[in-house]
C-alpha cells in the first residue's frame, strides 16, 4: 500500500511520525518536570517516596520515547541526524548525560549501600529535569531560528562554530537566542505544570495535593508567558522557505504565520492544542474538586496537539525544518534530508506497529493504575524506589 505513495508523500508521512514522537516526548516530560518538584512538594521522606514512585513507573516510557525519536529521525531523515547530533555536539551530550544519570537514580536511590547516597541520586533527578526540558526546548526552537552549519557537495555537514551548539542557548548577542531560551523555559514550566496535574491524578494524599495545587499558578503563568514570547516571536519574524521547483531556500516574511493560514488543518490543531492545555490548567485550578483527576488528560492531549502543530509548521508547506543561518542553501528540508524512497516505504510498514504498541501500553497501564499511590503502599512494597 505504501508503494503507491509518491516520494514526496512519504516524506510528509515521515515528518508527521517524527512530529508525533516529538510531541509525545514533550508530553511525557512531565516526568522531568516532576523530578524538579520532589523537594518542593514532598516535605518528609515518605512524601518524597510517594512522588518518586509516582514518577518512577513512567520514567522508562519517556526515556524510550526519546530513544525511539532518535532512531526514527536517523532512519527517516539521516542528514538531519548527522547534522544536528554531530554539530550541536555539546547540547546533545549534556542532554544525554542528564538521561544517563536519570536512568540509575530511581532504581538506586533508596537501595542500601548505594555508594553516592540518596541525596546525590535525587540531585541527578533534578539535573535531568532541568537540563532535559530546557535544552530539548531550545533544540526544537532552532527548527525556527536556525543554526550555523554548512553541508558540502558530498552531503557531509560541518558545524561552523566551536561551541558545539551551546551558542544556541548562550550567545546573548544574537536575538534568536532569546527565542530559543523562551521555548526552553516554556517547556521547563510546562513540564512542571503537567507534573502537578499528573500527581493530582496519580497520588492519593491530601497534604501533597494541597501543596501541588498551590504551586500550579507559579508554574502555569511563567509557562504561558514564555510560550507567548516564543510563538509571537516566530509568527512575526521571517521564516525559511524554499522554492518547490528550484529548491532554493529564501527568507520569507511571516512565513510561519503564512503556514498556519495556508494549512488550516495545522492551524486548527495548533490552536486546539493551546486551548486544551490552558483549559486543563484552568479546570484544575478553579474546579479542583471536580476536575483535578482529569486535567492531566486535557492538558496532556493539548500538549501533544500543540507540539505536533509546531513541528508541522516547521516542516510542511515548503519550509526548511532545520535551517542554516550560516549558509542558507545548506538548510535541511524534508525533501533533501530524507532517506531513499525504498527505506521510507519499508519503514512505513514498520510504523503500522505503532497503534499496536500504544494499545498494549495503554492496557498495561490501565491494569496497573486501578488504584492510586498512597503512603501506605510505599511502606509495604518491597520494590518501591
Amino acid at each position: 500500500m505504501f508503494e503507491n505513495l509518491s516520494y514526496l508523500a512519504l516524506q510528509h508521512y515521515w515528518w508527521a511520525i517524527v512530529a508525533l514522537l516529538g510531541s509525545l516526548l514533550v508530553f511525557l516530560m512531565f516526568v522531568q518536570g516532576g523530578q524538579t518538584l520532589i523537594y518542593v512538594l514532598g516535605k518528609s521522606e515518605t512524601e518524597r517516596k510517594v512522588l518518586v514512585n509516582a514518577l518512577g513507573r513512567k520514567w522508562d516510557l519517556t526515556f524510550t520515547t526519546l530513544v525511539t525519536f532518535g532512531g526514527a529521525a536517523f532512519a527517516s531523515f539521516p542528514l538531519f541526524y548527522a547534522t544536528s547530533f554531530g554539530g550541536a555536539y555539546w547540547v546533545w551530550m549534556l542532554i544525554l548525560f542528564a538521561f544517563i544519570v536519570q536512568a540509575v537514580s530511581y532504581e538506586y536511590r533508596s537501595k542500601a549501600n548505594n555508594f553516592l547516597g540518596q541525596r546525590t541520586y535525587d540531585v541527578f533527578l533534578f539535573v535531568n529535569g532541568l537540563l532535559a526540558t530546557v535544552l530539548l526546548g531550545t533544540a526544537v526552537a532552532t527548527f525556527f531560528t536556525g543554526s550555523e552549519f554548512y553541508v558540502d557537495p558530498f552531503n557531509r555537514s560541518h558545524w561552523e562554530t566551536p561551541f558545539g551548539g551551546l551558542e544556541l542557548a548562550f550567545n546573548f548577542g544574537r536575538g534568536q537566542t532569546y527565542l530559543n531560551l523562551s521555548l526552553g523555559l516554556a517547556v521547563f514550566f510546562l513540564a512542571r505544570t503537567l507534573a502537578i496535574l499528573y500527581f493530582m491524578n496519580n497520588v492519593d494524599d491530601d497534604t501533597i495535593l494541597g501543596r501541588a495545587r498551590k504551586k500550579l499558578p507559579a508554574n502555569a503563568i511563567p509557562f504561558v508567558v514564555f510560550f507567548l514570547i516564543f510563538v509571537i516571536g516566530i509568527l512575526l519574524s521571517k521564516g525559511f522557505a524554499y522554492d518547490p521547483v528550484t529548491r532554493k531556500v529564501f527568507m520569507e516574511p511571516y512565513k510561519y504565520l503564512h503556514n498556519l493560514i495556508q494549512m488550516p488543518v495545522v492551524g486548527i490543531i495548533f490552536l486546539l492544542g493551546v486551548v486544551a492545555v490552558l483549559f486543563g490548567i484552568y479546570r484544575a485550578w478553579f474546579h479542583f474538586d471536580k476536575c483535578s483527576r482529569k486535567a492531566i488528560w486535557i492538558s496532556g492531549i493539548g500538549t501533544i496537539l500543540t507540539v505536533f502543530g509546531l513541528f508541522l509548521m516547521a516542516g510542511y508547506n515548503h519550509t526548511a525544518f532545520y535551517p542554516s543561518v550560516y549558509d542558507l542553501q545548506s538548510s535541511l528540508t524534508i525533501e533533501n534530508a530524507s532517506s531513499s524512497k525504498y527505506t521510507l516505504i519499508a519503514m512505513s510498514y514498520v510504523s503500522l506497529l505503532v497503534p499496536f504498541v500504544v494499545a498494549y501500553i495503554w492496557y498495561a497501564w490501565k491494569s496497573m493504575n486501578k488504584t492510586r499511590i498512597t503512603t501506605k503502599e510505599m511502606e509495604e512494597d518491597d520494590h518501591a524506589y
Binding site: V67, T68, G71, A75, A103, G164, Y342, V350, L353, I361
Partner: protein, 514 residues
Amino acid sequence: MNGVDIALVDWSRAQFALTAMYHWIFVPLTLGLSFIIAIMETIYVKTGDEEWKKITKFWMTLFGINFAIGVATGIILEFEFGTNWSNYSWFVGDIFGAPLAIEGIMAFFLESTFIAIMFFGWNKVSKKFHLASSWLVAIGSNLSALWILVANGWMQNPVGMVFNPETARNEMLDFWALLFSPTAINKFLHVISSGYVLAAVFVVGVSSWFLLKKRKIQFAQRSILVAAVFGLISSIYLILTGDESARQIYKVQPMKFASMEGLYEGEQNAPLVAIGIMKKAPTPENPKADEFAFKIEIPNFLSYMAALDPNAFVPGINDMINGNEQWGIMSYYDKIEKGKVAIGALRDFKEAKDKGNKTKADAALKDFKENYAYFGYGYYDDPHDLIPNVPITFYSFHIMVILGMHFMILFIVVLVFLYKDRLKNMRWLQYVALWTIPLVYLAQQAGWVVAELGRQPWVVQDLMPTLSAVSNIDKSSVIITFWLFALTFTVLLIAEIKIMLTQIVKESKNEGGQ
C-alpha cells in the same frame, strides 16, 4: 588523507569502544537472566510452591539493578552514531537507521512497559498476566539485540544496498537481504546464546557462594538446577554458532580471519593454533620471521573450520597484502589503486554534473561503478595500514574459545554432582563456579574485541574506514567527553556492584528460606 586529524579518529574510536564495552558489561546479563527468571516464575505458577516465588523475586531484584545501568549506558550508543560518526550516519544512514528505529518501536517499548508490571504488578495483576509480562520482557530484550546485531552484521558484511552517486550515500535495495544476511543471523544467535551462558554462570556462581556460606541450601540448589540446564544447552549452541561465525568471516572478512589465527603465510591443510604465544610479526624486511614463540597446533583443523574441508586454502595476511595469483587473490596494492580511481571518479562525476557535461559525467560514473567495491581502500597509501592489531585479535579469539569450553564443562560437572546430591559439600567446585563469573565477563568482552578490532580499519567493510566516518568536530571536545564517560560510568559501575553485593548478602541471611 583528506586532512583528517588522526588523533580525532583515535579519540572517537576510544570513546565508542569505552561506551560500548561498558554497555556490554550489563546487556548480556539482561538477555539471559530475563529468561532464567521467566523459567523460574513458570515453575512457581505451575507448582504453586512459594519458595520458587522467593527465588524468582530475588533474581528479579538483581535483574532490576543491572537493567537500570544497562539502560543508562545504552542511550548514548543510540545517539553516538550522530554525535561522533556523523559522516557515517549520512553515508549509510539510509540502511543503518532502519534497524535502530525498529529496535525502538518493536523492542524497547515492549521491554519497558512490561518490566513495570514485572516489578510492581505482583499484587495488581493476575498470576498469569504477571507471568506473561516476565516472558514479554525477555522477548523484548532479545528482540532489541536482534535489531542492533542486524545493524552490526551489515557493517561487517554490507548487503542489500547500492551506492547512489547523486546523494553520495548508500541506499537500501532489499530489506530482507539485510535482515537475513548470514552474518547478521549468526551474530544474533551467537550473541544471545553468549548472554544466556553469562547469566547462567552468574546464577550458578552466586548460588555457589550461598553454598560456600552454608546458607539457604535448597534455594541455591534450585537456582543452580535451572541455570545449569539452561547454561549447558546454551553453551553447546554458543559453540556451534561461534563456529559458523568463523566460516562466515573466512568468506567475507579474510583479513580478520587470518588475524584471529595470527596466520601470515597462507596454506592448504592449515593447522589450528589451539594455544600460542605470539612473538614478533614478520615485516617487509624480514617476512619469514616466526610469529610464534610457542604454540600447540591441531593439524588441518583451521582449513576444516574455515571451509569444512581439510584441503582448503586459508589465505594469510601477506597473501592479501601482496596478492596471490595461484589462489586468485588481488593484492591490497591493487585494491588501493582501484579505490583511488573510485574516489576520483565520484569527484569528477559531481563536477561534470554541476557543469552540465553529461558525457563526462557518464564516463566518470562508469569508472566509479567498476571500482566501487574497493572504495574505502582509496583512502590509504600503505597497505600495512589496513592490517588490524594481530596479537590482540589472536589472544581475544583464543581466550573466548578456551573459556567457552570451560563453561560447557563446568555446567556438566555441576549438574552431575547436583544430581548425585554431592554439590553442596564440594567446596572446590563451589569456588570454581564462583570464580568463573569474572571469566565469563572476560569472554564477552573478548568476543567483541575479535569482532571489532579484527575488522579495523573498516566501519563498513571495504567501503568506509573509520577515518572518513568521523564527525568533523574539535578533538578536545571528544577528549573531554571521553573522560566524562569514563568517570561517570566507572562511578555508576561501582555503585551497581556495591548495591548488588549488598542485596546478595542480605538475601543469603534472609530468614524463611531453607
